[in-house]
């Protein structure tokens, strides 16, 4: 029974990261109708940003979060504005393949620069934890969850309150109407994509705190993000949060009872079940 609670807690803790990853993915998918297969590589870049800052200047990873966010935002903005934009309204195959190609480019570039060996970040507080009853909680994971929640909340606020945020939501509803009202769609599209990348980068930093780094580490996150979006519904911040938490818990239980190393299989089964039973997602509309 104790294992149950431990798994549950672990699942929730990691679910926060999934939520942030999924949020960026969901924004891009929901607003621009692009399924960004390079999203995982953005997560990876965020993680390596933290690694570089930590190993070179001993910057605490939590402080790297804004840095990674900004760096990835700019990167994502440029990628969208100068590359993806050419095919942003094309059929799915085109954008799928384009982002897939970008992903290959990015991952292999990282492979060249950072080499394939596994790296990690170990801070002073990495190993410390506390206990509630028979459940052990690592401080790092708890902080990670809190940061994730903060990021999610900030995103929600920004989208609903800020001028740009509202313009983006208008654009999502009707791109032609928005364009006619003077909304600079090309710029906003790039902003949205940049946000998606920035969020992925921030999530990457969070990942680097508890997991090891490798250029290919981002791949499973695309599947995760997709499953979370399907679970939680597209285009909603709450959906990404709830979906992320649920998925984290499912994975934790899956690892426990089916075996580690089968995370992808668990993700896939969850995805299939949800798609078959409720194609609209548990909370909202799961996209076209």
């Amino acid at each position: 029974m104790q294992l149950f609670w431990q798994d549950l807690v672990n699942g929730i803790l990691v679910g926060g990261i999934f939520a942030v990853v999924a949020l960026g993915f969901s924004l891009v998918w929901g607003i621009m109708n692009i399924i960004n297969l390079a999203h995982g590589s953005f997560v990876m870049l965020g993680a390596y940003t933290a690694y570089v800052l930590f190993s070179t200047w001993n910057v605490d990873p939590f402080l790297s979060i804004p840095v990674a966010f900004v760096l990835l935002f700019v990167f994502g903005y440029c990628v969208q504005r100068f590359v993806i934009n050419f095919v942003v309204r094309a059929p799915i195959l085109t954008t799928f393949l384009l982002t897939f190609g970008l992903s290959l480019l990015i991952v292999n570039f990282a492979l060249l620069v950072f080499h394939g060996d596994v790296k990690g970040i170990t801070t002073q507080y990495s190993g410390s934890n506390f206990s509630i009853g028979s459940v052990t909680i690592a401080w790092v994971k708890l902080w990670t969850l809190l940061v994730a929640l903060v990021i999610t909340a900030l995103m929600q606020l920004w989208l609903t309150r800020s001028k740009t945020g509202r313009a983006i939501r208008a654009m999502a509803m009707d791109i032609d109407a928005a364009q006619l009202s003077g909304v600079r769609v090309a710029h906003l599209y790039a902003v949205v994509f940049g946000l998606g990348a920035g969020l992925a980068g921030a999530a990457g930093v969070l990942v680097s705190l508890s997991y090891s780094l490798q250029p290919s580490m981002g791949d499973p996150f695309v599947i995760t993000a997709f499953v979370v979006c399907v679970l939680g519904g597209l285009g909603s911040v709450q959906g990404a949060l709830v979906g992320g938490l649920i998925f984290g818990v499912l994975e934790a239980f899956g690892s426990q009872y089916i075996g580690t190393g089968l995370q992808d299989a668990v993700a896939l089964v969850v995805l299939l079940i949800v798609l078959i039973l409720r194609p609209r997602g548990l909370l909202g509309k799961a996209g076209a």
Binding site: G101, V222, L275
Partner: protein, 328 residues
């Protein structure tokens, strides 16, 4: 007067007729490669044939039917493992048996998984197939009967060139099948789904049924290629069987050669293999990097394949036009 099959500018759904004739000629010439008595060229040629088969398979579901699969490597892997299992557990070396069993396994897998996931639209199918490929690799790594993480050796048939000819037959059969399908009612069902799935349904085409059929045929092709590969390679383990290259390259090859044509896959396989070989010898480190760049360039500038450039409706003006059409 019998109205001919409409051969519009793109050559109907079989593709440009001249390109097809040239490609078939090249295919026939490739039969003679083993007679060069060069291990290097035989391996290279076998590789081209293997990739061409994988591309032909992908072309059916991705090109003709418009459902992008990011996981067709799973059928290749299952086919490879069929050969490996046949040898390890039943001491069967026969290539023919391996290919047939592999196709059965591949088709069964596609039918079982296809029914649920092909019910949905393109987006979901794409990622679901990616998930399937990753998940299957994981599962196989954990199953002892299939050699788990360390894999199996496969004792090759003594006459090594047999594998070359086997791969040639698999490739030629796949190309013939594609040609026949493209000219038949089945081919039109696929294309109708790609062009407008709802309109196709209105005209009586059951989308799920035909999507599954397309995927199953592509599975059979990939599995057959995998079955032959395993014997030729002599060794199969999860990373080899489910290699990312075998998943991605076929897609790029088809796009480069021309999506939804009969000749496209082989053309793309030839061009990209040639480029790959050149790169390998000069810049071994960056060849996957290069492929990422190729995908990006091809998708943005040449979405209809290289033959589009030589087409009256296409040409450089067509490229410029398509650049403008999709941007914001």
């Amino acid at each position: 007067m019998r109205p001919g099959r409409a051969l519009g500018a793109l050559g109907g759904i079989t593709g440009n007729a001249n390109a097809l004739r040239v490609t078939v000629a090249i295919l026939i010439l490739m039969v003679f490669v083993p007679m060069l008595h060069s291990g290097y060229y035989e391996n290279l040629g076998r590789g081209v044939l293997m990739f061409a088969t994988l591309s032909l398979g992908w072309n059916l579901i991705g090109g003709y039917t418009g459902y992008v699969s990011f996981g067709n490597v799973v059928f290749f892997g299952l086919g490879s493992y069929t050969t490996a299992a046949l040898w390890q557990h039943w001491h069967q070396q026969s290539i023919v048996l391996a290919v047939i069993c592999a196709m059965v396994v591949g088709v069964a897998f596609a039918l079982v998984l296809g029914m649920p996931i092909l019910r949905l639209r393109g987006h979901y199918f794409g990622i679901a197939t990616l998930g399937i490929a990753l998940a299957t690799q994981e599962i196989v790594s954990n199953v002892d009967w299939l050699g788990a993480g360390s894999g199996f050796t496969v004792r090759p048939v003594d006459a090594y060139s047999t594998y070359y000819y086997a791969m040639w037959i698999v490739c030629a059969a796949s190309m013939l099948a594609t040609y026949l399908i493209a000219r038949s009612k089945l081919g039109y069902a696929f294309v109708a789904i790609r062009e407008n799935e709802e309109a196709a349904a209105v005209l009586g085409v059951d989308p799920t049924r035909y999507k599954v059929i397309a995927w199953a045929i592509s599975a059979a092709m990939a599995a057959a290629a995998g079955a032959v590969f395993a014997g030729a390679n002599g060794f199969i383990d999860p990373p080899t069987a489910f290699a990312l290259d075998n998943n991605v390259f076929p897609i790029v090859m088809v796009i480069l050669g021309g999506v939804g044509t009969v000749a496209g896959p082989l053309v793309g396989a030839l061009i990209l293999t040639a480029i790959n070989e050149t790169l390998w010898s000069h810049f071994p480190q960056i060849h996957t990097l290069f492929f990422g760049a190729v995908i990006v360039v091809v998708v943005v500038f040449l979405p209809r394949g290289i033959l589009w450039l030589f087409n009256t409706r296409g040409g450089w003006k067509g490229v410029a036009g398509s650049l403008g059409a999709y941007r914001v």
